[in-house]
């Protein structure tokens, strides 16, 4: 029998039982759609996070006390501004070194109240990270050295406290202490799950006085170029270890952060796809089931075809193609449904989704494979049917 003929016969058989074919396909459609949509969401999330990490600035090196590893307790920081002077000597360029001491504080402006992440920083923050101002100006070196009580507001915080009024030059209180607003950041949105528009930047010296501490939580260094990151990392950690022999220091690069996040998200995406894959498998079992029913129902037809000269393999091929046609049609519909779902999710919800050709191709290939795998047993059974018995069936 020619292949084209076999396809026609298979298509005919599926058309004869439209409703049943649709219901059988539904299992495959849902399975494939789930795989495509979930992989799209996983991929979209990964891309978004990569963009955010890269958006921080390039060639960054982050130094924190303690070891960065799962299960290690947070270490209280022994770092102070004196350490920063030492690091500035290692780096050789003060504008490439930023620090932070962070604390959650209540911020008031007149009768309005907000809760903000207060960041005590140096004037170097905009030259180390990518951080643009919407209006006003950033902290100056003098602000930092004199501990002046001036503040730069995140876009969200400015809106909470001042609505449509211009915040520049106005008074606010942070943790009950008066500050004067000198600038407002451009909106940044979420980054790694943190609302970056709810920050308020103040001179590190002012923050330390407010919190009654000398400590610094972390240091960020912007290397002049990618190749220098490694050497710089070693030198900085060595200098700090020299000054604080009892403390471990960790230096991580953006690439390392991206690598770790990418691995985690990759695993997550894989797990999601596997769960969706199980539903595809269940769909395949449904196909197998229906094909067995179909073989039984069409026993007489099989007997007749054999009587007029069909070989076992002609009959087997007919039923195998029927199963493959069911699952690949289901696969295509599932791809459309999953792709459509991903696009809708991307557009209508905060969850990002990115369709990838490989996930579509994979889903389609798997659905075809499911058809072959789950069609083989019914097809063999049909092919081996004894024509005499088949013809006697009434």
């Amino acid at each position: 029998m020619r292949l084209a003929e076999a396809w026609r016969v298979a298509l005919d058989a599926l058309r004869a039982n439209r409703l049943r074919s649709m219901l059988t396909m539904l299992g495959v459609i849902i399975g494939v759609a789930a795989v495509v949509a979930l992989v799209a969401i996983g991929t979209g999330t990964k891309q978004q996070i990569e963009n955010q990490v890269e958006g921080l600035g390039s060639n960054l090196l982050l130094v924190v006390p303690g070891r960065i590893q799962a299960g290690s307790a947070p270490t209280s920081s022994p770092l102070t501004l004196d350490d920063i002077d030492a690091i500035n000597r290692v780096v050789g360029d003060r504008s490439r070194v930023a620090v932070t001491i962070a604390s959650g504080e209540t911020v008031r402006a007149g009768s309005r109240t907000g809760f903000a992440s207060m960041q005590g920083v140096l004037e170097t923050t905009p030259t180390v990270f990518v951080r643009n101002l919407d209006r006003g100006s950033y902290l100056t070196r003098t602000d930092v050295s004199t501990g002046r009580r001036v503040a730069v507001l995140g876009a969200g915080l400015a809106r909470t406290l001042f609505a449509d009024r211009d915040p520049i030059g106005r008074q606010i209180t942070i943790g009950g202490v008066r500050f004067r607003v000198i600038g407002v950041f451009e909106p940044l949105g979420q980054s790694l799950g943190v609302d970056r528009d709810g920050e308020v930047h103040v001179p590190v010296t002012a923050a330390q006085r407010l919190l009654g501490t000398e400590r610094i939580d972390g240091i960020a260094i912007r290397a002049p170029d990618r190749d220098r990151i490694g050497d710089l990392s070693t030198a900085v950690v060595a200098a700090l270890t020299d000054r604080h022999p009892d403390t471990d220091f960790s230096a991580v690069t953006q690439e390392q952060i991206l690598g770790v996040l990418g691995d985690i998200l990759g695993v997550l995406t894989g797990v999601l796809a596997a769960i969706a894959g199980i539903s595809l498998l269940v769909g395949g079992v449904g196909v197998s089931n229906i094909m067995l029913v179909s073989v039984r129902e069409r026993t007489k037809e099989i007997g007749l075809r054999k009587a007029v000269g069909a070989r076992p393999r002609d009959i087997g091929l007919q039923f195998l193609l029927e199963a493959v046609l069911l699952t690949t049609t289901g696969g295509i519909l599932g791809m459309l449904l999953g792709g459509g779902t991903a696009l809708l999710v991307d557009r209508l919800s905060p969850v990002p989704a990115a369709l990838t050709w490989w996930s579509m191709a994979l889903a389609f290939g798997v659905s075809a494979a499911v058809g072959i795998i789950f069609g083989v047993v019914p097809a063999q059974r049909a092919g081996r049917l004894d024509p005499v018995v088949a013809l006697r069936t009434e």
Binding site: M1, R2, D12, E301, G303, A307, G309, D386, V388
Partner: protein
Amino acid sequence: MTAAIVADDVSRTYQLDGVSVPALRGVSLTVDPGDYVAIVGTSGSGKSTLMHLLGGLDRPTGGTLLIGGRDVSTLSPDEMAALRNTTIGFVFQSFHLLARTTAQDNVGLPLVYRGVGRRERRERAATMLERVGLAHRITHRPNQMSGGEQQRVAIARALVTGPSVLLADEPTGNLDSATGQSVLALLESLVDDGVAVVLVTHDRDVAARARRQIVMKDGLISETR
């Protein structure tokens, strides 16, 4: 002239739940080209079993059977399928037409399995339908036709490959007598065209019109007339 089918002491025993059921117990029979053989006998005497063997749908459990000069015990399932396709035409009591398929495509079905393209299949099927007097039913489906018409379609299907033997197992069993007569007349016209016809029937008058009559009883030929 070689015989179309030669059965020599052929037997067929079914295994049913571990019990041996001897349906044929040693039957010898020769069908020559252009022969017209009627098989009669009580129900359960082994007529259908014999027909299935003669048509290569089944294999004997004893004796030798030659179809078209070939010993079926030496043939693979694929070779048996090819033999059925080229040498044998079957007509069944219950027609066995594909329900959702037109008369034309039902008739063309055997040609599918010898790789004939659709256009040629339809041409040859149309010619064959014309020959059985159904030129006007080409695009009809089985449920749009009478029993007699359906059986004519089945006969056209059996003939489309140009077989040397046509095996008809009670072809008029589901038809009223007038329709049955016209179907028989059609089968007899084939004999005149040189096709060997083997016919199972309950009707003594029908059997009497054949060139030879074989009476079956308990899996054996009890009488040849």
